[in-house]
């Protein structure tokens, strides 16, 4: 019953999306204006029905209802509760349902509260949102029905991919999805604004919270994914420039650029066409990313998500939405009137420079990701990795970070460097000092050295916008910016430090043997078998001591899952304030020794702490923006009330 209920809710939601598109589009014509009134209520209902459908799927997974095909192929009655729950979206059908659900709810929310823009623009936006949703409904209902029943229910389910049975990962895909959906709302706003030729500050302000929200989720999603790859894959690295990682990074880069150009548009009414284009590009990148992950046209560690047929479907959606939107952009953007002018040396100038740098990095990543595909078309196999990505990304990232250090200190419209020169002496000195000190003291690579120097300077410079301000009265968005920029410095420092100072040791150790890695002494005590709810493992018992201090016990495991059968390695980590010890248990050698892989990674954790700061900065900005919007609405209502009373 529950499955059928869910399916009916989904069909109804799809029908409402069709109605929403039709009514929204017709309301823009002179004859159809009466239809405008139903668009908002329909959008709200559509969101509610989606939520019901998704709720039904969650219930089916929690009950482990094996008569439903999706549950039978992806769940198992012996699975812990949390993974039964995450099993709901840990598969293609469920994740697509999650996508339309979040999209439907976002549409409801926009329909309920957004009143700043002229009504035709809003109706066009909601129609655009419905148009995008419709494609995903078609996808779900035609080729990936999550509620399909099995004629004969099996006795037991097939389980969830063991690599995915991890708390961090249970929330990694939905986080990214929330980001992608947020960008779809920004996309709809861009379409609405283009269709009704209404690109201005109000459009930017209406779109900005969605971009900010999406960007926060993307930041968290990417860093969670990177931390997962770091400790779960057991390779000791935290970023592999894998196509799937790139697929999540590209929308983030576009969203970062969009966020900043939307701020320029909101504050200064400049960069109109550019902001609209970024709105389209940011969502395109999330769809391109989804396509690359699902279609399997690129080889990646995320092979579990691959299905070429679904890839074709997503590609068709891409052609319709993104091709359509970019065509609309090309035709309409020339009629978008020129925005306000500004001088090269101004806050806008710095933001434009960094927008171009971000776009260049986006281009580098996109090109590198697709390059193997291009050469394959000519029968040549190449794989593009860190030797291309690291220097090419750095080529644009380093100037960007330097401009980021002083950009926020510049005034809008026009400024000169002489005014801020005094403030910049300290961060510049720190950068040069760090670079010189490292150059003299240690033999490290050029990139890590530049990274550490820039990070130190940026860390100080990012705090300068607070100088001379009354901290209590500093608006939240300014705090947000400072925090996010400081977070970038922290993350950069972690990345550079990890690559400059990591120590790696691969040993075949006997029980009882002590191994030295960096400042650590690791004593290998014993190997013992352990069993979990749906796996068995060999566990190494080891004691690690930092510079002869107190011993910490660590237990890396080589795990074997039995449903479905697969081996994974559970690395063991010891986190100190100044870095992490990372231990992986390998195979037994012929003569009874065990392969151990040990790393000491100074300040590696700063990579993720920094990204949390970045996301937190985004959150502060979001709260600040929303709060001032609410204040504005309240004030407007008060004025309206007073007028009403006066009229009495």
């Amino acid at each position: 019953m529950i499955a059928e209920f869910g399916l009916i809710a989904l069909w109804l939601a799809a029908a409402l999306a069709g109605l929403q598109l039709l009514a929204g589009a017709l309301s823009l014509t002179s004859r159809g204006q009466v239809l405008g009134g139903i668009v908002r209520p329909v959008a709200v209902m559509q969101g509610v029905l989606c939520a019901l459908a998704f709720g039904a799927l969650i219930v089916l997974f929690l009950q482990t209802d094996l008569s439903v095909k999706l549950v039978a192929t992806n769940s198992h009655s012996a699975k812990p509760f949390i993974y039964k729950l995450s099993g709901t979206w840990g598969n293609h059908e469920g994740s697509m349902l999650l996508w339309v659900t979040v999209m439907g709810l976002a549409g409801s929310f926009v329909a309920l509260i957004e009143r700043r823009l002229p009504e035709p623009t809003m109706l066009a936006t909601l129609a655009g949102q419905a148009f995008v949703s419709l494609g995903f409904y078609a996808f779900l209902l035609a080729s990936s029905n999550p509620f399909e029943r099995l004629p004969v229910p099996p006795a037991e389910g097939q389980g969830l991919n063991p690599l995915l049975q991890d708390v961090g990962l249970a929330f990694h895909p939905p986080t990214l999805y929330l980001g992608y959906v947020g960008l779809s709302v920004a996309f709809s706003f861009a379409i609405g604004a283009l269709v009704t030729r209404n690109v201005g500050p109000a459009f930017a302000r209406a779109m900005r919270p969605w971009v900010l929200g999406a960007w926060i989720f993307l930041t968290l999603g990417i860093s969670a994914g990177s931390y997962w790859a770091y400790y779960e894959l057991g390779w000791g690295g935290w970023w592999f420039w894998d196509p799937v990682e790139n697929a999540s990074l590209m929308p983030w880069l576009a969203a970062t650029a969009l966020l900043h150009s939307a701020s320029v548009l909101a504050a200064r009414n400049a960069l109109r066409a550019w902001t609209v284009m970024l709105g389209v590009v940011a969502f395109s990148m999330s769809m391109v990313g989804t396509f690359l992950v699902r279609s399997g046209i690129l080889t990646s560690v995320h092979a579990f998500a691959v299905d070429p047929e679904r890839g074709s479907f997503i590609l068709a959606l891409l052609v319709i939405y993104i091709g359509g939107a970019l065509t609309l952009f090309a035709v309409r953007a020339s009629t978008v009137t020129e925005g306000e002018r500004f001088a090269l040396t101004s806050r806008e100038g710095a933001l434009v420079f960094n927008n171009v740098m971000l776009s260049a990095i986006l281009g580098v990543v996109l090109f590198g990701t697709l390059y193997p595909l291009m050469t394959e078309a000519f029968g040549q196999k190449v794989s593009v990795g860190p030797p291309y990505f690291n220097p090419m990304a750095a080529l644009f990232a380093v100037p960007m970070m330097i401009v980021m250090a002083f950009g926020p200190l510049l005034r809008w419209r026009q400024d000169n460097f002489a005014r801020i020169r005094g403030q910049l002496i300290l961060p510049a000195l720190i950068s040069v000092g760090v670079a010189a000190g490292l150059f003299a003291a240690e033999a490290i690579g050029a990139l890590p050295l530049i990274g550490l120097a820039v990070a130190a300077g940026l860390g100080v410079a990012s705090l300068l916008p607070l100088r001379g301000r009354n901290l209590r009265r500093t608006p939240l968005p300014v705090w947000g910016m400072v925090l996010a920029h400081f977070g970038v410095a922290v993350t950069l420092f972690g990345m550079a430090s990890e690559s400059a100072f990591s120590v790696e040791k691969l040993v075949a150790a006997r029980v009882g043997q002590t191994t030295e890695v960096g400042p650590w002494q690791v004593r290998f005590v014993e190997i013992q078998p352990v069993a979990g709810p749906n796996w068995t493992a060999l566990e190494a018992d080891m004691f690690a001591s930092y510079r002869g201090g107190a011993e910490v016990e660590i237990r890396p495991q080589a795990r074997s899952f039995w449903s479905p059968p697969q081996m994974t390695s559970e690395s063991a980590l010891v986190t100190r304030w100044n870095g992490q010890l990372y231990a992986v248990l390998g195979e037994e050698t012929d003569d009874g020794r065990w392969q151990l892989r040990l790393w000491w990674k100074p300040f590696v954790t700063l990579i993720w702490y920094g990204s949390i700061l970045i996301a937190l900065g985004g959150l502060l900005a979001l709260i600040g923006r929303v709060a001032s919007d609410v204040r504005r609405v309240v004030a407007r209502d008060k004025i309206a009330d007073r007028r009403m009373e006066m009229a009495k």
Partner: protein, 182 residues
């Protein structure tokens, strides 16, 4: 620093053009999925010099000279501890029945284990060399078990098959063996 000038009108089509390029690439990638097999760099090169002792009592050991009498053969790299090798055994028997002569190298194995493996899964091999330190395996460009090489009559490697031979791949291997005759 302003936008929307007439000169840049053409630039507005640029994103669409890049996108069209991406779509073309994606469509070609979907229509003609790339061959994921990595071609061996050893193909066309002669076998390295080696001389391996016998792995089991009933079969002689293996040396480079055993491949240079003008008859093309298969060289199978296997181990008794390797599960895909057991899965592959029926296909090797099928190849043997079809007239292929198969030499083998047992990797890091014990005599009694190999004997047991051959008793259980059949013995399609004419000669079996024992490679305790993977020296020969690495020398011929093999990185795992099982792998099967097609060696022509003068000891030149003509084809490398990585992984187990599936039932549907048997005709393909025979075809490669026939090609090596020429």
């Amino acid at each position: 620093m302003s936008e929307g000038q007439k000169a840049s009108r053409w630039a507005l089509w640029l994103p669409l053009a890049i996108f069209a390029g991406f779509i073309g690439l994606a469509v070609s990638g979907l229509l003609w999925p790339a061959d994921r097999n990595v071609a061996s760099t050893m193909i066309g090169k002669p076998l390295p010099q080696f001389e391996l002792p016998a792995a089991v009592p009933g079969r002689p050991g293996l040396s480079t000279a055993d491949f240079t009498d003008g008859k093309p053969r298969l060289l199978n790299v296997f181990a008794s501890w390797c599960i895909p090798c057991a899965l592959e055994a029926p296909q090797l028997s099928q190849l043997e029945a079809a007239g292929a002569e198969i030499h083998a190298v047992a990797i890091r194995d014990r005599t009694e284990d190999v004997s047991l493996f051959l008793k259980r899964y059949g013995n399609p091999f004419t000669r079996i060399g024992k490679d305790d330190i993977s020296a020969v395996q690495l020398g011929i460009g093999s990185s795992g078990v099982p792998e099967t090489f097609v060696i022509d009559g003068s000891g030149i490697i003509r084809y490398q098959h990585i992984g187990d031979i599936r039932p549907e791949q048997v005709p393909m291997i025979l075809e490669k063996l026939k090609e090596a005759q020429r």
